[in-house]
Every structure is written in C-alpha cells, then in structure tokens.
Symmetry: D2
Subunit: 382 residues, 4 copies
C-alpha cells in the first residue's frame, strides 16, 4: 500500500485531534494509502518533541518551511493558529503538497481568496477541517434533506453556545487562549464558532444572500497571557445574525462564550414543508426528526440513536446502540479525504467551500459595524 506521508504543523488541541485521526483511521476504514506520521512541526522544540513521541511522528522541526521543502512529505496539515494559515498554505501549495487546513480558512476573505487561488493553480488536494459535517447524525441529516424528506425549507436556526470566558481573569493570547487575541484569531466567536454553524448550514441549506448582525464584547480588557499586560479586547464575545438563504428560507444564527451552562452546545434545526430536523453537539449521536407524513395521531419528534450499520459511517465502528464521540468526526474526514484522492471526487469542504464561509463571517462582522443588512459574496463565481 502506497504511503501517504504527513507533516503536521501545530501540537495543540487540533494537532492532537488530527493526529488521532491519522493514526486510527486505518484500523477502522479500508484505505488504499498507508498514512505515515512523518514529521511534526511547532515553535517550541521540547513540546514538539514530546508531541511527536506521544503520537509516533518520526521527526520534528520548528521550521515549517523546512517541512514543505522535504520531498518525503506528501501532505501538510495546518493545525496552527489562524494568523499563519495563509502563508503556510500558499507556500505548501507552491511546493505541490496536499493541504488540510484548520478552520476558519483565513483571517479574512482577502487571504482566503489567495489561498484558494494557490491550491487551485497548483491542483493539490485541499480540505478545511470543518469536522462536524461528518458526525454521523449530521451526515444523516444531509441525506434526508437531499432525499427530499423535508420538502421546501422555511427556517434554519443554529447556535453555538459556550461559557468559558465569562470569568474576566481568563487572559487573551498565549497557548490555550489565543482565540481571544484578535491579532491571532482574526475575530472572536464569529470566526471560531459561527464559522462551524455556517459551514454546516451552507452544506445543508445552500447559499446565504444577506445578513443583519450584532456583536458584543462583554469583557472590555483582559491581561495578555504572555506580556501580562492588560489590553483592550478586540474580538467579539458574542455574535448573532438574521439571514436570508437563496432558497427563500429565513435563519437565525448565534454564538457566544457567555451562555452559562453550555460547554459546546452547537445546535441546528431546519424546518421544511414535510418535516424538520434538529441536532445538538452535546448529544451528537442523536438526530431528532419530525416527519409530518406520519399518521396524525402518532406524529412526534423521533429521537434517532445514530449507531446502526445502515447509518452513515457506523458500520465501521461497533454494534448498534454503542455510541462514538467527537473525535470520530475527524477520522471520518480523513477516511473521506483519502478515498477522494483516488475516486475522482475530492472530499469537501475544499478551500473554496471554506472561502464561502469566510464571506459570510465577513458580512456578519461588517453588518455588526454598519448596523445595516449586508449582502454576502458568492464563492462560486470566480
């Protein structure tokens, strides 16, 4: 079996999630490439070494350019903070590497456009880690929608609620908290959390035409984790918007890190003429489905425990009734990516799909400033 040599950049939360997927996918999915953990790259040499030891990477470096220059690396996995995605990805594309890039694709659409151009010019396989598409319950939702089970769509609503930054002592910047530092993250919950909601929504319900938004920063100043100095907080702590989809449906979206009681409650609901679907990340193995075509007296929301072999991805795991978890969505994404290399159907979301999400988050942030409805650019028309 031909090897697929991987070089990962970043050893944080996402570095672990991706590495686990790379190591594990072959145990459960039939692949025609053998994934090899070739090299790990990170700023801190000691941490990079420890990470490589834990996961079995063969070598380490602190220079990502070196990684790209190596002939024995086929794929660059970008698990580093948002502010370095563009430079690395563009260089990797020029170097002819396949690229997996963490979400959001870029700091802004301008960067993202260049990244898309680079990978499309280089014709390298590319994908963004919007992993939630491949939670089996979410994939099942997609199948039901595509099969017409909902009919004409009237409503979409999504939210992503967390509560980990309510404490004003949480710093900005640094290892675990760079997502609060606008210079590294680009934006706050809009790019971090709403981006997930938007990616799923565009996949399930098509394009968004226009939005009106509001954002808020509840804690105005935070210490920087590295400098220790109080600095103005420039990210959005909370972000909400109304939207109109191209298919005529209306939507509400909301994300925040100030919703007490919710750790990572990403939830979406979609209402159509014939039925509705609802999903939530805190019980990710379930899909709620209402089928109006059931007989009137026994209609009800079905709580589908997505753990059977005839449901997406599940035949590769255990037996009916035994649930999988968060990390498995990454395994599925790798399995589909590898399959896409040879079957002529590149796995989505590609960088171009990631750009589409960036256009929406950009419109959201602009609307929050302008206090006007903002049209959303299309990523489809070049």
């Amino acid at each position: 079996m031909k090897p697929l040599n991987i070089g990962v950049i970043g050893y944080g939360f996402m570095g672990r999630a991706h590495s686990n997927a790379f190591r594990k996918v072959g145990n459960f999915f039939p692949l025609d490439r053998k994934l090899v953990l070739k090299a790990a790259c990170g700023r801190d040499a000691a941490k990079t070494k420890a990470f490589a030891d834990t996961w079995g990477y063969e070598s380490t470096t602190s220079d990502w350019k070196e990684l790209i220059a190596r002939d024995d690396i086929d794929l660059i996995d970008i698990a580093a903070p948002n502010n370095v995605h563009a430079e690395i990805a563009i260089a990797a594309a020029k170097g002819g590497k396949m690229i997996l890039c963490e979400k959001p694709l870029a700091m802004n659409p301008a960067e993202a456009v260049k990244m898309v151009a680079a990978v499309e010019k280089a014709k390298v396989a590319n994908m963004v880690w919007y992993n939630y598409r491949r939670i089996p319950a979410v994939t099942l939702a997609k199948e039901l929608i595509d099969a017409g089970r909902l009919g004409k769509i009237f409503h979409y609503r999504a939210k992503f609620l967390q509560d980990w930054t309510i404490n004003a002592d949480v710093p900005q910047g640094g290892a675990g908290t760079w997502r609060l530092d606008a210079s590294v993250a680009g934006s706050g919950v809009t790019g971090d959390l709403l981006a997930h909601c938007i990616d799923t929504a565009l996949w399930l319900n098509g394009g968004i035409d226009s939005v009106t938004a509001m954002t808020e920063t509840f804690v105005k100043e935070r210490k920087h984790a590295l400098s220790g100095k109080k600095q103005k907080v420039l990210i959005d702590d909370a972000s909400a918007f109304l939207a109109r989809f191209s298919n005529g449906s209306l939507a509400t979206f909301e994300a925040t890190r100030y919703a007490r009681g919710h750790k990572a409650l990403y939830t979406f609901e979609i209402n159509g003429e014939h039925g509705s679907l609802c999903w939530d990340l805190h019980d990710l193995h379930r899909l709620q489905f209402f089928d109006h075509r059931d007989a009137g007296n026994v209609r009800g929301w079905r709580s589908i425990h997505v753990s059977d072999g005839d449901q997406p991805y599940m035949k590769h795991w255990w037996v009916p009734g035994l649930q999988i978890g968060y990390e498995h969505s990454f395994v599925h994404q790798v399995a589909d990516f590898v399959a896409g290399l040879s079957n002529g159907q590149p796995a989505a979301p590609t960088f171009r799909d990631g750009l589409a999400t960036d256009y929406v988050t950009d419109a959201v942030l602009k609307s929050a400033k302008s206090r006007r409805w903002q049209n959303v650019k299309s990523a489809r028309s070049k």
Copy 2:
C-alpha cells in the same frame, strides 16, 4: 336535561378531584345529563361545610346512611378512605344508587367480591376511580395496542415511585397520612400505587397469571397522627414483583415511597414485536412510541405531544400544543361514565375490574410473605 344528583362522601384530596370533575365536565363535554352537586358528607361538620361552600354542594351531612336514604340522590361518590368502601358501597347498591368508588376497590378481595355481588345484583352503574386510563396519552396507547401496532407482546414494565415518606417523622394515621395506617389503608404502596399500575396493565395487556414478590417496610415505627403514640408500621413501604401475563409476556412491577427525586413517577413500558410504547406521569401529555416498521435509518422513539384534536379526548379542550393536566383524567372518566349510562356500554373499570386488580395485589402481598410464586385468581369467572 335530566339532572344527575350527586352525593359525595369525603372532602379530602379525592373529594376535591372528583368535585372538580363533576363541576367542569359539562363545560367541555356534551352530556345528556346535568350533573348537580347535591350533597357532601364528611365526619367533621365544619370541614364538610367549608368543602360544600367551596364546591357549591347544596347540602351537607355527617351521616352517609342519610345520604343513601335520600330520594333526590342518584349517585354516591365514595371518596373516603379504603376501610369504609365496602360498607358504604354495599349499602348504596342496596339503596339503588349508582356508585363511583375510589381505588383500591376494597381492603381485600373478600370485601371486593361482596361489593361486586351487591352492584351486580342491584344492577346499578358502578365504576372505580382508576383515573389514569383516561390520560389521553394512556388512552392512545390502548388504541395503538388494540390496533395491533405492537404485534405480539414480550414485555411489560411499570413502576410508581414517590419519596414523601423517607422522613421518619411523617406520622401514620390522620387526615393526610392515613395511607400509612394499615388499619385504614389495608396495605401500603401495593394497594395505593401498584394498584394503579396493575389496573392499567390489565387493561393494556390482559390478565396476569402468576407473580413473585417482595415488600419492605423501611421505617419500622411511626407516631400516630391522632394519638401521638409510636406504633409499629404495618404497611409496605416498597413492593416489587415479577409477573407472567396470560399472553406469554413477562413483567416487572415496582412501587415505593422511598425513591428520592420522584414525586409521583408512574411509568409503564410495553415492548412488542413491531413496536414499543412508554409513558410517564411526570410528563403525562406525552407518549413515547417506537415503530419498528419505520425505515431503518430513521427509526427512533417518537415523543408524541398528545394535544391534538385527533387524539383521545383532546378535541374537547384547547388547541394543539396546549397541554392539559392530572385533573382532566377525572373529567374524562365522568364524561365516559355519563355517556355509558345511556349508550348501553357501561364505562370501565367497573367494580368487577377493580376486583381483578385486588386479586393481583392480594397475590403480591401473599407472595411477599410466602416467598413463593403465587397464582392470581381470575375476576372474570363468576
């Protein structure tokens, strides 16, 4: 419209529940009799008077025999403690009165047999207040079972969990706590709570052949509410049994007043070849239904919000989505009782049905003592 003159005996919890039903049923259900609250009877004259004033009873007495003797009373409603059911009911039957009797029917099957004989001899309309049959979700369960939606039945399980007597300071005897006094209540949770579970089970799943049971009294002594003296507790605090139904299905039943966190959690589940049903009193307006004949990838337990006009009893209430509560089951029972007076189909459960339940609770109590399987007598064969 011909009046139906009612005399109630008892002004406690059940006296209120019945009175509310009598007063209210005509506002929501078309009846061909006009219910008249003619007289209230109770031991304490002042309390009886206050009760009559609150509910609009025309007169009061503290002598139930006087009530039975009155020509202008058509129906005797027995809302008094268990130890007086038999005497009153037999006298009322002899007096030619219709009788509604609180559950359990009697202190023991011997009493119950006499009560059945009395009403059947007198040919008076009779019914036991097993009100849960007429929670719309429970009635819907019955309809689905009768329509064959579950197929062959394999399992039945029911429990009734409360937690109000954990505190050893709760007395026995007296107004609110006579259910802990064996001389008044007959038994503890077996007659009080399991009786409800059994009545529903017999209705939904047919007869029970045999049982093996255990009971326990966790608090061995309690003060008597009236005498203030510590007395041995003679009721069962908890009771559980295994059962075999005549249709070949297996069952588990349990009731207790020591299940912390449950106020009145009566729940049943029934599993058949093609589907299953589950209901619980804490969310009484919902029925859970699993239909195995749904397509495999979208099978799931449906949470049916029983509040639509095409669901049992609900067209008489509000609009879809607006739930009714506990008290409405009594209203439905009165509506059906009155309808049964003229349509030739006497409403169940009759006294004979109540006897069937008493035979099961009797077998349960006997098995708990004998530590043997106990056969259950049939109430059908005269």
Copy 3:
C-alpha cells in the same frame, strides 16, 4: 362575599379560556369577591346563547355597548378580535368598568396609547391577558432572577413556533382564522406570538432599547373564509429580530407558523453570570435551571418539575408530582387580579405594560420594512 359581576365579550377560544378561569378560580383560591358570570356578548345570537348555557352566564346580548351600560356589570372582559379592543376598552373605561383585555392590547401603539390614557384617567382596574407569566415555572423563573440567582445577564432568547398555516388551503378571515387577516389581527405572528415572548421578556429582563428585524409571508394569497375570494395575505407568517436590552444583554426572538413539528412551542432561555434558565410551553410544568455555583463535578441543568407546594401557585392545586396545564395560567391571573383589587397592588400586566409590548412589536414591524435598526419607545415616560 361581595360579588364581582362579569360581562364577557367574545365566545371563541379565549372566551372559553377566560370563562373557565372565572368559574374555577374560587374552587381553588381564597378570594374576597364572588365571581358572577353575569352576561355574555357576541355577534351571533345563537352561538352566544349556546356559549352562555355551557358556561352558566345569566344573560346574553349581541350589543357590547348595552353590556357597558348595565349597572350590574363590574368588569368587562374583552375576548374579541384585536380590531375591536380599543373601541370597547375606551368605552368601558368611560363607563367606569374594570377591564380585562386579550393580547395584544391594540392594533398599533396609537390605539394602545389611547386605551392606556382612558383607563388611567378613569382609574379603573385593568389588565392584559398575557397569561404565560403565571405558568408556575415561569413565575419561578421570575423569582430566581429577582433573587439574583443568575447575576448579570448576558443573553436572552425566545421563540414561538407553530406549524398550522403551512397548508396553503387554510383561509384567512372568519371565526377560526381571523388571525391571518391583517384587517382584524393587525399583524401576523408578530402581534400574536412574538407579543407573548416580548411580554415575558420585558417582565424577566427589563426594557428593550433597539431591534433589527425581518418578516416573511410564505403563502402570498389565501381565500377569505367568508367571501371565498382569494386575497393577498398581508400578515407576517414569520418574524425574527435581534435586540439589545437596556441591561446590556443581547437577544434573539423568532416566531413563525411554518416550523413543522411544533404546535405551540414557546420557549425562552436566559443566561447570566451565575446561572441560566430555560422553559418551554410544550412541557410547561418544568423549568430548566443551571446553577454555576453547584460544585464543578456535579453541575448540570436541573429539570425542575414545578408541582410542589413551595413553588408558585402550586399549593392551591393537587399534590407534588401532579401537573397542571395551560388553562391554569388564566386561573392564576384571575386570582391575582382579584387579590390586587383589595391589596393595593394592581396585578400586572396592566394596559401600560401591554403598551410597552406594542411598542416593541411596532419597532419590529418597522425595522422589517426599513431594514434598519429601530429604537423602541418607552411606555414608562408619559
């Protein structure tokens, strides 16, 4: 006990809900006035008569002015469609009658302002039937918020989802469907459903400063129920808005009659520094409460079954664990209204509170047209 003579105008859904409350409240709540169902008024004489017979009204009329002119009527209950609220209420106030008025208070703020002026000038007791405040779980939410259990508030979100008008054959106008006729209803879901959400929100979370909204009419034409002619639909089928409260919190609101699977799913959630609350009308007897001050390893959303005597209103009903339903909120409202007549604390929401809600719905409708953020007028400053 001094009588409180009631004349009701309207025999539809709300006429029944109010009448049930008037009849029933004295059975459960100690009142110092005896409610008397004196007269019922409606356009159709036969229907009015049948309604009066069912509920026990002593007399009927089809002329509401006659009702107001009667000396033996103390209170006018307006259960008629929105387009007649103002005229009747202003006349009733001039006639010195107490007034209970269905929600929304008026067709628009201009009317509502006049109604407020009329009752305040006449110094008559007045209240709007926003009944959901008095669902015990909602009242408990209010108590917890007022006790500071949530701390500083960051987020509020509410929605009211129905699905009964998806079928394009549902007519507009007429008895059951006047809510689709803009000339009678004023607006669609904004005045009908969002008004409920807004009333609760203003009560729980204080004033709203500004909103940005969108509305949609999915079915563009419907037959008129009376004329049979197809007419343009002028109401909003769906309405959503973002809001900023005066206390700095952010909110999303949404209502629709096109959310398949939801009959009357009014739900709200409020997130504060120390805790969060969540409630939903489909399980109205439960309140979800997350208390961040619970120990870290056992924190979780508590599902509070609001059926105990130490929870709002519940000591007047049954025993712990036995739930009440939708209709009981009206009973509570009447109990509080009557208590307010003598205790010097008039029950809310008053007409002035109703005006505050009308100002918000007006801003929502204006914003949906202007596509701009709209400031909300205050009902407090005269």
Copy 4:
C-alpha cells in the same frame, strides 16, 4: 520505557475493542509501560492475519498454547467466546502471564473458582473486561456514592434491553451469533447482559444476598449458523429478578433481547436518603443526579454532561462539552490496569470480582428453574 508485550486471543468484536484500547491508551494517558501488540491468535488463519495487519500485531498463530509458551509475551488477553475462558486462563496463569479476560469470567461458578485459584496461586495480574465501570459518568456515580452523597440506599434498579434477536431467522452458533448457543455462551442474557448490570451493582451498592428470578426463551428453535440445522434454543432470551442487597436495599434487574426500540439500553438507578443517580448507556456521557439537599423550590434532576477535566478520566481527552464514546471505557480500563501494575493497587474487577458476578448469575438461573428465592454465595470468603 519497559515494554508490555501483549498476545490477544480472538479477533471478533471484543478483539477489536481491546486492540483499539491497547493502541490508543498511550496517546492519551501517561504510562510507565510501552504496550506492544506482539501477537494475535485465532482459529481462522486468514482472518487472524487480516486482523493482525489492521491493528499492527507483529505475529499471528492459531494455537493459543504456543502464545502462552512464548517468553516474549507478558500478557494474555482473552477475547474468545465464553467456553474457552477457563482453559486458557488457567494455562496462562500457570505460564505466569498477566491475564485480561472477557466477561463473563466463566461458563459457571465451578469454572470461575478454578480460574480465581489459578491466578491467585500464580500471583499474576488479572482483570475481567467489565468495561462499564469506567465510563466516566459511571465512575462519577461511584465517587458520589462513596462520598456519601446519597446516604442510606433504599433501591437499586438496572436493566439491559436489546432487540436484535426478535427475528426468528437469526441463527444460533457461528461467528456473530455464538451468544445464542448455550454450549458456547453458557447462558443467554443472564451471562451476557445481566452480568454487566450485576458487576456495576456490586461495585456501587455492595453484595447481593438473595434473588428470585424468571427467565424465558421466546423463540424455541433456531437454525445453527454452521450446521444449518434447526436446534432447540437453550439460552434464556429474557431474564428478570428481584434482589435484596446486604445493605438492606431492594432491587429489580432485567435483561432481554426482545425489547423493541432498544439497541443496548443498559440503565441503572440508585435511590438513597439524600439523593439519587441514574445512568443509561444510550447517552453514556451523561449522569442524572438528584440532590435532595438542594433548596426545595429549585430541586430537580441534574443532567450532568460528563465532559469536564474535573470529572473522571476526562482531562485526558478533549475540551469540555466534547463527548467520548463506548470504546473509551476500554482505554480507561487498560490505563488503570497498567497503573495498577506499579502502584500496588491492582485494578478491579479482578477474577475474584468476576466470580462474585458469576455467583449472582448462577443464583438467578437456579431460581428461575426452582421458582424459589435463592441465596447468593459470597466470593469474598475463601
């Protein structure tokens, strides 16, 4: 780091689950031994080879005695059917190998006693794969009970419901269906499913004194998967029992493969003086906790999303809110087993703990036959 060389026997469902745990544990837990997948053993050479390739076992064999004879194997993992546990385990103990054995420990207590004797004589580390103890929510339950959060225990109830053998065409014997063949499995749901319930119960609530049980075989004959011949079914399809624990609490237990709608619904509930706990395998990442010491008006069942770093095992995985799944319980068991090798506290359940469960299942099967209460032997007294 010193290697821990593993030889696995069996390549089925459990062979996969164990292998996944062995491969993965070092990526997430700090260990002082390096787990090496040394050899895989199975009857079918080709399947064994494929299994070894998938999971990275260095070598294969079809002779388990050869495996035990190898000096470079430290640990024998028995993932083969029940009827070979005893012979292999006893030989492995004699060979001085550590042993991990699938549950139930043996075909009957007689076998289990010998196995316990063998490992205790050989002083080899030993453990039974009752993995559910190490679902984080279950471990948290144990911690809360041990900390006295429930107080005196009154009730325990557990059930394990499946529905995969309702179809009479499911064969007995063979690869996926040996659990229906009594000669291989020993018993049906009693040893397969109830054993899990019992292991957890003994751990959480102490010893069981006596039981009364019933079992049933709904489908009387099934084809054998290998011979194709119809044979009498000798296993129990369903099994239920009442129990009394040494601590005075009462229990109900039930398992079946005929509960339509439940794939693998293992659920337990425990009720104590101060609180209650409830867990279910279909939502394994949640623990329900009722704390009676919460203030009366805000008491409710807390749904604890066990995904935080301060909850058992979770700091090794992702971030709060992101759930793990079924397979992780095996990883935890391996982590604890390896830690137990050096910290002087051997991880439980040991073979002796496994014997305790076998004594209960044996009493259950005997009671079902004798129709009498049966005392349970203690595994503690040698």
